[in-house]
């Protein structure tokens, strides 16, 4: 369990993180979202004890990072942003070094190192020097380094940046699997990734938490009920007169004309009312053929933009 209590981090007069509090329960995967410079990495660096907060406390599995730093740190596996590694070591040497740093007992250390190398898919290249690896491979080495020693808490700063789609899928499923036994905080700016992996999302902007909820709830918050997209075949352009026939339509707007002469419209209702039934029957009466009718799907992107936008207006 990670408890972040009223963390503030100041650089001179600049407040990078402003009174942030949140809790991550055991076995939960939480995504930290926010635009660049929002304070994600600063928050993560504070949790890992790499930097010290100006005010507030971080408690990891009951150990305060300032009062019991060694105990707190031994709970954490950290994958820093930009995957810093030792270029002159081989993969095996690096993971072994990380295991030693984390005080993994000599007995069984080799097996644990091999286990992690296997889990991250690096077995065949484990004797290669890190400087000769590709970006994606380095990412996985960094991941292996964070995972070795089976820390209860994982802090992953942008874990999938620079990977190819196949590797991204692999890393994601690895994180998901790890989330069953570990407490995970990850930061990302790829929203689809966060909505796929995370149980909960914390959106940070300008050093403050602006939203905290499950990805689904965040999406629902911004989805509007009164907008519909219809694609119709309407050769006689009868849709113009439809507006008067159905009560509750505020606006019908042509969005695009497709190659097969069907047209896509956006219909906005006046109230938060489902108009689909009415539209279906009225369109049929007028001889307008409906090819497609759907509600807009709100994505986390929309939620994010909306929330960040609101925060920006303050």
């Amino acid at each position: 369990m990670i408890e972040v209590k009223n963390i503030t981090k100041k650089y001179g007069n600049f407040v990078a993180v402003d009174d942030i509090s949140f809790t991550v329960k055991d076995g939960e995967i939480v995504g930290l979202l926010g635009p660049n410079g929002a304070g994600k990495s600063t928050t993560m660096n504070t949790i890992t004890g790499f930097i010290e907060q100006t005010e507030g406390n971080v408690v990891i599995n009951g150990y305060d990072t300032l009062k019991r730093p060694k105990r707190a740190k031994s709970q954490i596996g950290y994958m820093p942003e930009g995957v810093p590694l030792y270029d002159d070591l081989t993969i095996k040497e690096f993971v072994t070094y990380m295991a030693e740093l984390k005080k993994v007992k000599r007995k069984g250390r080799k097996e644990k190192v091999q286990d992690m190398i296997k889990k991250t898919g690096l077995t065949e290249m484990q004797n290669k020097l890190i400087k000769n690896l590709s970006r994606g491979q380095k990412q996985r080495v960094s991941m292996a380094g964070a995972l070795v020693g089976e820390p209860k808490v994982l802090i992953l700063d942008e874990p999938t940046v620079g990977l190819d789609p196949k590797q991204i899928t692999e890393i994601r499923s690895l994180i998901k699997e790890l989330g069953k036994e570990h407490t995970v905080i990850l930061s990302s700016h790829i929203l689809s990734e966060v909505s796929q992996i995370c149980d909960r999302v914390i959106i940070i902007n300008k050093g403050k938490i602006v939203a905290e909820d499950t990805p689904e709830n965040l999406e629902n918050k911004v989805s509007s009920n009164n907008v519909l997209y219809v694609t119709v075949e309407d050769t006689e352009n009868k849709i113009e007169s439809i507006k008067e026939k159905i009560t509750g339509i505020k606006e019908i707007k042509l969005i695009e004309t497709n190659e097969d002469k069907t047209k896509k419209y956006m219909i906005t209702g006046e109230k938060d009312e489902d108009l689909r039934k009415k539209i279906f029957t009225e369109f049929a009466k007028e001889g307008i053929t409906i090819f497609e009718m759907k509600k807009p799907e709100a994505t986390l992107e929309d939620a994010f933009m909306k929330i960040i936008g609101e925060g920006g207006k303050e």
Partner: protein, 228 residues
């Protein structure tokens, strides 16, 4: 901490740095040995230690050993890995210090070779040889502590190296050139060891200086943690 020492020592041997440091030492030592033993015919090894300590030997060996220690980690970002592992700040700094100190013993062991050669002709004064080694070791230790300190100030290993060269120059040659600075010389106290004495006061001074430099390093790193 032991993990870091192991890694540092490995690093000295798997990169050219370690070999260059030993080579500098052996080159100067051999050259002076050739001159003193073969040309002059003395069995005095102490003057060679003085030569290595004063004429460029340590001035290049120590910066090479220490310039990367903390600055290099910060440059590559790997300090994030060490500082977030369950090792205390003191543990990290001490590990860096100890590994360089252990390494500097290696060239000292090589001097046994010259000692052996001399034994073939006439056994040199063993106590003087041992105190010279001790003095050389203590002096190196103080320099290493400063090297670690300068490596913690900057993110650039080159600047850290230059700072260390400047420091060693300042405590070796500046007091010779400007007499009012003679109190700052570390070379004069070192001479006592070359005369076959174990000077307790000087030993304490060297160790105290080393502790002081390590403490300043700790303060700098702690401050960076809360300011960064």
């Amino acid at each position: 901490m032991i993990a870091i020492i192991k890694k540092e020592l490995k690093n000295y041997f798997f990169s050219p740095i370690g070999y260059v440091v030993i080579a500098i030492f052996l080159f100067i030592f051999s050259a002076v040995f050739y001159d003193s033993a073969i040309n002059t015919g003395t069995t005095d090894l102490t003057s060679i230690f003085l030569f290595v300590a004063a004429y460029g030997g340590l001035m290049f060996m120590i910066p090479l050993l220490t310039m990367w220690s903390i600055a290099g980690e910060r440059k590559s970002g790997t300090d994030q890995l060490i500082m977030t592992s369950p090792v205390s700040m003191l543990g990290v700094v001490m590990a860096k210090f100890i590994s360089a100190v252990i390494f500097i013993i290696i060239p000292l062991i090589f001097t046994l070779m010259y000692f052996g050669i001399l034994c073939h002709y006439q056994v040199p004064d063993i106590p003087t040889y041992l105190t010279s080694m001790l003095g050389f070791f203590l002096l190196s230790m103080t320099y290493i502590a400063f090297g670690i300190l300068s490596s913690s100030i900057t993110e650039s290993p080159i600047i850290a190296g230059i700072l260390t060269v400047a420091f060693i120059f300042a405590v070796t040659w500046l007091p010779e050139m400007i007499s009012t600075l003679s109190g700052f010389s570390l070379m004069n106290p070192f001479l006592n060891f070359l005369m076959g004495k174990i000077d307790i006061a000087v030993t304490v001074m060297f160790i105290t200086l080393a502790i002081l430099f390590i403490l300043i390093t700790m303060i700098i790193m702690q401050r960076r943690k809360s300011v960064k």
